[in-house]
C-alpha cells in the first residue's frame, strides 16, 4: 500500500509540469559545488526541503567554469523554469543580461543585488553574524589572539572578516590575524593551503580560527582540530565536522532564501526587490547544537546574546565593509 502511495506521489510530481499554475523551480549553484558542506549545500538543503514538503521537483545545475553561467541560465529560462534561483554573487553579470529578455519569469539571486523588476536580490548582513562568532572566539581564546581565513579575496569575504574583527575586539581579543587564501576561484577549493595558513596562524599564537572559505575551510577546521584548537565554520552548520573542536558556525540562512523563493512562487506571492537579511530578520546567526553545547560557557552565552540583542535593538551597529571598502576596527 505504501508503495502504491509513493508511486502515486511520484507520478503526480512527474505530471506536475502539465499544470500551468504549477511552478517549475530551478536552482543554479556556484563554483564550489553542491555538497561543499557550506554555502551551496545550504541552498541545496532549502530546495530539498521545498521538494519534500510540496512534492514539486526542481531542476539544478552546477557550473564548473564561469563561461557556462549565461548559457545555463538562458537554457533554464528558455525552458520556462520559474522561479530561477541563483546561489552566489558571480551570477550577477549573467543575470543582468538575461533578466530583461524574460520579463515574465521570476529570478532570485543570493549574495548580490541586481536591480530589475523581476529579480529578487537576497543579501545577508554577514558582518552581524560574523560579529557574534567573533565575540565567541575572543571569549574562548586563551591567548586572546584569534584568526580569520577567507577564501578568494573579494569585498564580500572582507565583510565577513571585518565583522569578525569587530566582534572579537569588542570582546577582548588583542590581535586578529587575517589571511586570504588566494585571488582566483581555486581559493575556494584548496584545503591544503587552508590548513597551512591555519598552522601558520596557530604558530603566531591564534587559538580560534574562523574560516569563510568554502571547501578550503574543511582544511582549516581539520588543522585546528588536529592541533587541539578551535575552528569556526561558515554558511552551513559545520559543528558536526569535528564535534567538540568546532566552536560554532556562522550560519547564513541561504536555505530559507531558496525555500522562500520557491514557496512564494508557488503561492503566487513572489515579489522582486532587495531583501537585506540580518540578525533581526533571522538571516544570519551563530549555531549551537549537541556538538558544541559544552564549548559555550554560560558567560560566553550571556555575552553573545547581549551582543545579539544590542545589534537587533540598533544600539550596536556593525560596520559593513562593502559600504566604503574600509574596516575601522
Amino acid at each position: 500500500m505504501k508503495k502504491i502511495i509513493l508511486g502515486l506521489v511520484a507520478a503526480t510530481a512527474m505530471c506536475a509540469p502539465a499544470f500551468a499554475q504549477e511552478v517549475q523551480p530551478a536552482l543554479l549553484y556556484d563554483l564550489g559545488g553542491k555538497f561543499d558542506k557550506s554555502f551551496n549545500e545550504a541552498a541545496y538543503n532549502g530546495a530539498e526541503k521545498f521538494k519534500t514538503e510540496t512534492g514539486i521537483e526542481y531542476v539544478e545545475f552546477e557550473v564548473s567554469n564561469a563561461s557556462q553561467r549565461e548559457q545555463a541560465l538562458r537554457r533554464f529560462a528558455e525552458d520556462g523554469r520559474n522561479p530561477i534561483v541563483m546561489a552566489g554573487f558571480s551570477w550577477a553579470e549573467s543575470l543582468s543580461k538575461v533578466a530583461d529578455d524574460y520579463p515574465d519569469l521570476k529570478f532570485e539571486i543570493i549574495d548580490m543585488v541586481v536591480e530589475k523588476p523581476n529579480v529578487r536580490s537576497v543579501v545577508f548582513k554577514e558582518q552581524e553574524g560574523s560579529y557574534l562568532v567573533g565575540v565567541l572566539a575572543a571569549q574562548a581564546s586563551t591567548s586572546k589572539k584569534v584568526g580569520f581565513i577567507g577564501g578568494m579575496d573579494i569585498p564580500l569575504i572582507r565583510r565577513f572578516g571585518c565583522g569578525y574583527v569587530g566582534g572579537a575586539k569588542a570582546a577582548g581579543a588583542t590581535d586578529v590575524i587575517e589571511n586570504m587564501t588566494g585571488d582566483t576561484p581555486a581559493a575556494w577549493n584548496d584545503p591544503t593551503k587552508g590548513g597551512e595558513i591555519a598552522k601558520t596562524q596557530m604558530d603566531q599564537g591564534a587559538d580560534v580560527i574562523y574560516a569563510a572559505a568554502g571547501g578550503t575551510g574543511v582544511g582549516v577546521l581539520q588543522a585546528a582540530a588536529d592541533a587541539g584548537k578551535f575552528g569556526i565554520g561558515v554558511d552551513s552548520n559545520q559543528n558536526g565536522l569535528h564535534p567538540g573542536k568546532v566552536l560554532t558556525s556562522m550560519v547564513k540562512r541561504v536555505d530559507s532564501a531558496v525555500y522562500d523563493a520557491f514557496m512564494d512562487a508557488k503561492n503566487g506571492k513572489f515579489e522582486g526587490g532587495i531583501q537585506n537579511l540580518g540578525l533581526k530578520e533571522g538571516g544570519v546567526d551563530y549555531a549551537v547544537d549537541d556538538n558544541n553545547k559544552a564549548l559555550i560557557t554560560d558567560a560566553m552565552k550571556t555575552a553573545v546574546e547581549k551582543a545579539k540583542a544590542d545589534i537587533i535593538a540598533g544600539t550596536v551597529t556593525v560596520h559593513d565593509y562593502m559600504s566604503d571598502d574600509k574596516c575601522p576596527y
Binding site: G33, K34, F35, D36, K37, E41, E178, N179, M180, G182, D183, A186, N189, D190, P191, T192, K193, G195, E196, I197, K199, T200, D203, Q204, G205, G215, V218, G219, Q222, D226, L241, H242
Partner: protein, 323 residues
Amino acid sequence: MDFLDVVVNVLNSTVRLSVPLLLACLAGLYSERAGIFDIGLEGKMLAGAFAGAAAASVFGSAWIGLLIAILVAVFLALVHGFASITHRGNQIVSGVAINFIAAGSTIILGQAWFNQGGRTPSLPSDARFNAIVLPGADAVRDVPILGEIYSGLLSGHSLLVYLAFLAVPFTWWVLFRTRFGLRLRAVGENPAAVDTAGISVAWLRYRAVICTGILTGMAGSYMALAQNAGFVKDMTAGRGYIALAALIFAKWKPVPAMFACLLFGFLDAMAIRLQGTPLPVIGRVPVQLMQALPYILTVILLAGFIGKAIPPRAGGVPYVKER
C-alpha cells in the same frame, strides 16, 4: 615571539608545502628524462589523492591507502605510456586527457561511493600518516638553536616527508650511478642509439613512466593522508603544474629540483606569513606578487636569463624505429 621561532615556523611550513611539489617534480623527472613529457602530473596526483583517501577510509589504514594510491597513479601513468609510447600519440594531448579524466572521475566516483559531493569521509588519525617525533627530539628541545632546529624543524613531520627528501639522493644515484639510469637518460637524448645497442626503447620508457606513477601516487597520498584528512575535489589546486615549472627551473636534475621545490614552497610560506604585515624598509609587499613569483621566476628562466634550460633532446618525440 623571538626571531628564531619565526624562522623555524616559516621553514617548517616551507617543508610541508614543498613536499607534494618535490614528489611530483621527481616523478616528472623520471618521465621527462626518458623522453616522455608529462603534463598529466596534476591528474595523477589528484587520482592518487582520491584513491588513497577512499582506500584509507574503507580499510582504515594509511598504508593500504598509499598502496592503492600508487597503483591507481601507476595505472594512469601506463595509460599515458600506452598512448604515447606504444601508439606514438601526442604526449601533451594524452597528458591533458589524464588531467581531465582525474578531475571528473574522482568527483563522480566519490559522489557515488560516499555521497558527500565528491568528498571522502574525514579520516580518523590512525588512517593517516601522522607526525613522527625523531628520537631524542624532546630531550634536546631546550638546547639553544641546534636543539630548536632538530626538534622544531627536522622532527615532527610525517613519514612521507622523510621519504620525499630521501628520494632526492636516491633519484640522483639511480640516474647517474646505475646502468638503468644511464640508459634512461640515453633514451631521452638519443633513443636510436639505445635501440642500436639492442635495448628496448619502449620497455625503458614504460619503466620510467611507472616510476612517475609511483611518485605521483605518493604525492597524492601525502596531500590526502598527511596534510589533510581526506579528499576534497580539485585539492591538488595546480601543484602538478608548479612541479613542472620547478622541473624546468631545475634543468631536469634531481638535487636542483629539490632546491627549486623548496624555493617555491618557501615563497608560498612567506606569502602566507607576510599577508597584511608590513616589512621594515620595503613596507607592505602585495601578496599577489609573492604568489606569482614562482611563475615569474620560471618565465625569466625560460627567457634565458639564468642560464639555459635545455630539455632532453628526444623529449615529446615518439620513437619510431627506422625500417
